[in-house]
Symmetry: C2
């Protein structure tokens, strides 16, 4: 690549530059917790000055939040609900995507979600939005998104917390994600069914 | 109380002083997240100097961790498993204690446990110890503490995450803790029973 133009990066549009910087953050997140992300390192990797980075993200916090949002979007993409299929099949696909995503990034997921990025309100808001989206997907798989009772919605949320915990804690003694996900999907059915009866 | 001795606090033993300082921390925790606890305020409330506080707790972090541990012990006390009774009754009592504890301190519980005290490893270790203790209690209620399979243990942990999430998220639209706790205890039975069959 010796014939590479001298300053290709200078040509990036503002949108592309933001995307590039967030992409670097996501990549660095794989190897360290978010509070150890260094702005200088991100700027150096992008081949720009620290000052220019702050042109795109006014504060370090703005940058972190953009990275956390992007990580959340990535996770939601993996946990997408298929358009069609039986409820259990749709839920299985989305749950397998979620569990695989979490298990591939276990240490960082814990560092980010459990350690809560230092209790930053805007980060907690991002997490809350993600949980709400996942909850609606679970209910949607069961055709209950709009008319779910508060207890069904609460149960779907509780089940998601169980999914996260079991994905993080499962170890080699337990069967792979497929087995765990089958158990979890059946579990949701067992949790929701008594809420739908005439009682 | 004008005839109160001038320096009663100076007479506290080291053990009593530590207990007093931790107690102040626990009380302040009710109104603010742990990372906003001010050492100066704690020392002032105890009527001692900042320097003397550091005699009992070498660093601010040591003090915080002691407070977090004490908060955890307090919670475990509320979630105590009765010595006797049917599995579902013992679990009901312990779960009601846990859910009531969490719901009375909702905002602070979120600030402390969800925001993870800034991702401090020793704090996360304290949380891990608490989760492990609660998991053993759940299994013990079912007489399965020693010989639980990895999947039963994992399920008990997942169920605890569900309990925590539902306790925090339940609002007035949903019935009080007793109703929720009955649902949760029945849920655990439904989750564990397929793991015990011959399949």
């Amino acid at each position: 690549m010796t014939d590479r133009p001298t300053r290709p990066r200078a040509r990036l549009s503002a949108e592309d530059r933001r995307r590039q910087l967030i992409g670097i953050g996501l990549r660095l997140l794989v190897s360290r917790p978010i509070h150890e992300l260094s702005i200088d390192e991100v700027a150096a990797e992008a081949g720009i000055s620290r000052g220019l980075l702050f042109h795109y993200f006014p504060t370090k916090r703005d940058y972190y939040i953009a990275v956390v949002q992007a990580a959340g979007q990535r996770m939601l993409k993996h946990a997408r609900l298929p358009e069609e299929g039986a409820p259990a099949e749709r839920l299985y696909a989305a749950t397998l995507g979620f569990v695989s995503f979490v298990q591939r990034r276990r240490a960082n997921y814990v560092a980010l979600v459990r350690a809560g990025a230092g209790g930053d309100d805007r980060v907690l808001e991002v997490f809350e939005g993600i949980r709400a989206t996942l909850t609606e997907r679970v209910l949607e798989a069961y055709g209950a998104s709009a008319d779910a009772s508060p207890m069904e919605r609460l149960t779907a949320r509780g089940w998601l917390a169980m999914v996260e915990e079991m994905a993080l804690e499962a170890d080699d003694e337990v069967d792979g994600p497929e087995e765990l996900v089958r158990f979890l999907v059946a579990a949701l059915e067992r949790l929701l069914s008594p809420l739908r009866g005439p009682g």
